[in-house]
């Protein structure tokens, strides 16, 4: 057994609830529901969801990867 601490063993890690991806969606952790632009409330049943930021997703408010095929 190694006596050396593993890297990061005693650190506090940054773990934000909301992460904005460059040229990508907004990741949201721990949400229970999301209200979209039209006022519809969507239940969230995952630990993390990706919200569309390019407005071109076929399944708003969720990201479907469409931003990758839109020229920047």
């Amino acid at each position: 057994m190694s006596g050396e601490p593993r890297p990061g063993a005693e650190r506090e890690f940054a773990h934000p609830d909301i992460v904005i991806q460059p040229h990508g969606p907004m990741l949201v952790r721990g949400a229970e529901s999301i209200r979209d632009e039209s006022g519809t409330v969507h239940a969230v049943d995952r630990p993390v969801v990706a919200l569309c930021r390019c407005d071109k997703s076929s399944r708003l408010p969720w990201c479907d990867g469409t931003h990758k095929v839109i020229p920047r």
């Binding site: 969606p25 990706a50 479907d64 469409t66 990758k68």
Partner: protein
């Protein structure tokens, strides 16, 4: 599941040895493989002992030293082949997520999803689903082996991703269960391993590589790179699969399986590339190149599989 049909001398020996049958074959030293097909099905069979096993194989076979020697030889050959194919790359730990983007953007393999969306016949789609069933009925299982081998941040992120893969606590939403329901809905068999005798060597090699990466702590970086490339190239093709299945009137549970992956993998790709691979490379810098090896290999094996199927269907890529 029963053991697959042998495809040559080595797989015949493997089945005899694991089944404790045909002692005249089983007690001989393991022969060399006759072919790539023989080698691939033998290794697939040996790896399967660490997943669900076979009803006609002894449970002790998984750790039978003779069998482990054969597994080691086949895994070494497979790994050497994969490493020779890889052109090689490296990145500073902080640049690993960007380097993964590059690996994905440079992939020029043919797209089965494009073919399914536009032109594939019903028979072609069913053949694709039979081939995919070898992995999709144990989707995420090889990745689960990596959890205890990761540093803190990558471990937490992998669990966040895997929790979603395994249905967020709801067995009805577990991904490989969704695929099984999809198979039934399109009239195919849903039992684990039902179509392994139909599996192309390319399908088996793709599966064997994931098992190899999952089973060896040494290859944890490759396993996580493979996962990242898989997730980063899933959302858009899954949407095309939904469109193709709809076009063919298969707009039920199988389309729902792919539909789930449009949304889930648009999330998972970020977790995999940054929170898993990015932090793993920061904590263990020697894993950076391994992550890129795994990612490239994922796309290369997928391209080989797609090429084989499209050639079989006589479709120009």
């Amino acid at each position: 599941m029963r053991m697959p049909k042998p495809r040559g001398a080595l797989s015949e020996w493997t089945v005899a040895r694991l089944g404790a049958s045909a002692p005249e074959v089983a007690l001989r030293p393991a022969p060399n493989a006759d072919s790539w097909d023989d080698e691939a099905i033998a290794l697939w069979t040996l790896h399967e002992l660490s997943y669900r096993g076979f009803e006609d194989a002894t449970d002790e076979g998984e750790w039978d030293p003779e069998v482990l020697l054969v597994r080691h030889r086949l895994e070494s050959d497979l790994e050497a082949r994969l490493r020779v194919r890889w052109p090689g790359a490296d990145a500073a730990p902080a640049d690993v997520p960007a380097a993964l983007e590059t690996v994905v953007s440079e992939d020029d393999g043919p797209s089965l999803a494009d073919h399914v969306r536009r032109r594939a016949t019903l028979d072609e789609v069913l053949e694709l689903l039979r081939q995919r069933s070898i992995y999709h009925l144990k989707e995420s299982d090889p990745v689960a082996w990596v959890v205890p081998r990761l540093p803190v941040r990558a471990k937490a992120a992998l669990m966040e991703l895997q929790y979603d893969e395994y249905g967020d606590g709801d067995p009805n939403r577990l991904h490989h269960h969704l695929f099984a329901q999809g198979l039934v809905a399109v009239g195919l068999r849903s039992e684990y391993g039902a179509y392994v005798d139909d599996a192309l060597p390319e399908t088996l090699e793709l599966n064997n590589a994931v098992s190899l990466f999952g089973l060896h702590r040494r290859l944890r970086g490759a396993a996580m790179g493979h996962l990242a490339a898989f997730e980063m190239t899933s959302s858009l093709p899954s949407r095309k699969m939904v469109q193709g299945l709809d076009r063919l009137g298969l707009d039920g549970p199988m389309a729902a399986y792919y539909d789930e992956h449009v949304e889930a993998d648009a999330i998972h790709e970020h977790l995999a590339s940054q929170d898993i691979c990015g932090t793993l490379a920061e904590d263990e810098p020697d894993q950076a190149a391994e992550i890129l090896f795994g990612a490239w290999t994922c796309l290369d094996l997928e391209a080989r599989f797609a090429t084989a199927l499209l050639e079989q269907w006589d479709v120009g890529s």
